[in-house]
């Protein structure tokens, strides 16, 4: 039993690492722009399909797809940004509907381009098992867990040290005050969109390397990312990481202790529970009540 639970915790933590990468992008954009980008999961999926194309047509390891994925996903994200920026009235709600529409477009475009077939990496190197004592994992999971930790540390450093990073944080917490300080909020919004798409590109390639992708999966990713940002409370990188790990571990434990059929239910219940009991999330301070 102990062995089972240890493995569940381990699997959950690894899964949480990649969830965190996706959620972080969503949280960053929400922080600066107060916009939930419902097409975020589709952007991640787009990167995953680019990885598939690169792997299957060039026969190389999917990590070599990262530059191309960065290019395309960033371009797509910038386009999304400019569309959202065009909204004039009632931005909070209209942006939801707008990005929802973009998500529909992307899902169907992905299906048109890559067909409904399921895809996953063929790289044997990535699928090699790695055994640490009683704990098992796939090499790709470990590799990308480390990568996502590194990215998060980098982002944290960037947000706290660089001028742009501080501007992003300033805009997230006090938009008007930031303006007075000479920060151009629109520029920082764009930067946050680009950073989010960089994270999404890595997350997408990771997803392709250890999981199975299909066109309808983007929506699931968006919802999971949103759940994590709620768990975290807005605007805290460690919070997002903890929220993601919490979700990953909860899911894995539900499978181990109850049934896998209840895994999604457990995630949703966790989400609602936190929403009601701790409306500001585990770490957040910003209010989300009306």
């Amino acid at each position: 039993m102990l062995e089972l639970i240890l493995q569940a915790l381990f699997s959950g933590v690894l899964q949480g690492g990649s969830y965190a990468l996706i959620a972080l992008g969503l949280a960053l954009v929400f922080g600066t722009m107060k916009v939930i980008n419902l097409a975020h999961g589709e952007l991640v999926l787009l990167a995953a399909y680019i990885a598939y194309t690169v792997e299957s047509s060039l026969g190389v390891n999917p990590v070599f797809a990262i530059p191309l994925a960065l290019l395309i996903v960033c371009a797509a994200a910038v386009l999304v940004y400019f569309l959202v920026d065009l909204i004039r009235q009632d931005r909070e709600l209209n942006s939801l509907l707008l990005t929802y529409g973009i998500a529909i477009i992307l899902t169907n475009a992905i299906q048109l381009i890559w067909s409904a077939d399921i895809r996953s990496t063929g790289s044997a190197w990535f699928q090699e098992p790695v055994v640490i004592g009683p704990l098992y994992s796939m090499r790709s999971e470990l590799v990308f867990f480390v990568v996502s930790l590194a990215l998060m540390t980098g982002l944290w450093w960037w947000l706290s040290r660089s001028w742009y990073g501080r501007a992003v944080r300033a805009v997230s917490s006090q938009r008007d005050a930031a303006k007075l300080m000479g920060v151009n909020p629109r520029k920082t919004e764009l930067v946050s969109f680009i950073v989010a798409s960089i994270l999404a590109s890595f997350a997408g390639v990771a997803l392709f390397s250890y999981g199975v992708i299909q066109p309808s999966y983007g929506h699931v990713l968006t919802v999971k990312a949103f759940i994590i940002t709620v768990l975290a409370g807005m605007g805290s990188i460690p919070g997002v990481l903890v929220g993601a790990l919490l979700l990953g571990v909860t899911e894995a434990l539900t499978v181990t202790l109850a049934s896998s059929a209840l895994q999604e239910l457990a995630g949703m219940c966790l989400f609602l529970l936190v929403l009601f009991v701790m409306p500001n999330g585990l770490f957040g301070a910003a209010g989300r009540r009306g």
Binding site: S11, Q111, A116, A124, G211, V212, S260, E264
Partner: protein, 390 residues
Amino acid sequence: MNRLYKKTVGLTLLAGLFLGCGVAAAKEFLVGVEIPLTGSLARVGAGMNEGISVAVDIFNKTNGKHTIKTIVIDDESAPAKAIAAVEKLASQEVVAISGGYGSNNIAPASDAANKLGLPYITSGGVDDSLVARGYKTFFRINNTVGYQKAMVGLIDALKVKSASIVYSTKEATANLAKDVEKELTTKGFKVGMHAFDPAITDFKPIINKIKLQDKPEVILMCGYENDYVGILRAAKVLKPKVKAMIGVWSLATAKMAADFPDLMPWVYGTALLPFPAEFKTADGKLFAETYQKLYNKEPDYLGQFGYVQSLLLFEAIARAADNDTLHKGGVAEELRKTDRETLVGRVQFNDKGDNINFVHRMGQHQNGKIGIVWPSEAANAKPNFPAVPW
């Protein structure tokens, strides 16, 4: 000009009447195809559709007398759209419908077809409730029992005594898993059951439970392609001490062997034919050739089912046309009289439209090929047992 035109039309009509009254003439018949080409079932629907097109091509070349034309409507994997598709086809005067995937779409679609008096033949839904309705217009060439027989048959042949079943909570997979469990339990097997939500991707916790708690001799998988990949990957990492990995549909296919060469070795799944296909019958050879010509690839099981169901239907239409009973319920009548060897074995329908002879075959991935290992009379290879992908 105008008068000439009218005259021609009049003459043609007259001629048509004459011929129609006399011996049935060679004629083009419209057949409706209601099938998912988008949505969650897009992939399997497209596979079946390929088989249907092959059937049209072959029938039109070989029949010599009648020809068939199909009208394809995408039902978008949605019941309401499936009904609308059937109704639209009816308004375009099709004589019967071939297609459908997923019992949830087939049930309402065939219901609508029944109301309109259109025969409906499918291979896309194995749920028992479809035939329990007892419609006179409904036919299908496969069923859960056939899959169950194949799985249990293989397990018997392998002489193991315990199994863990990993199954998706979707309807077809859950039903099959429970039926197999029931049969195995009555045979004195030790069976562990593990349901999973179709949305999950990480199967390690489930496989670990099987590895540490169930400790079975074989793992049975009732799922779809993405589930198999996830399960096999998790199993490859955790390496449970089992002797075989056995799945059902969409697994022992050339496509899976090509896409996931490192996951598939020695995995079992239902398969109609070995790969590379060895078609012994003339019918089979023709099918494979035509398929190759139209789609430039080896046929898969979806294509084979789609082909068989459609060819049986077209033949029944031809017979009904010859007997001049086409519009008097003759197609359904002729379908019911079907008794024929096909690519999926002998087909005979009972009064509820189910194929009483349907038993699937089990194949095994063997060095990039697929060998049929059960039943022995259809086998072209010996099962490699015990063997797993790791």
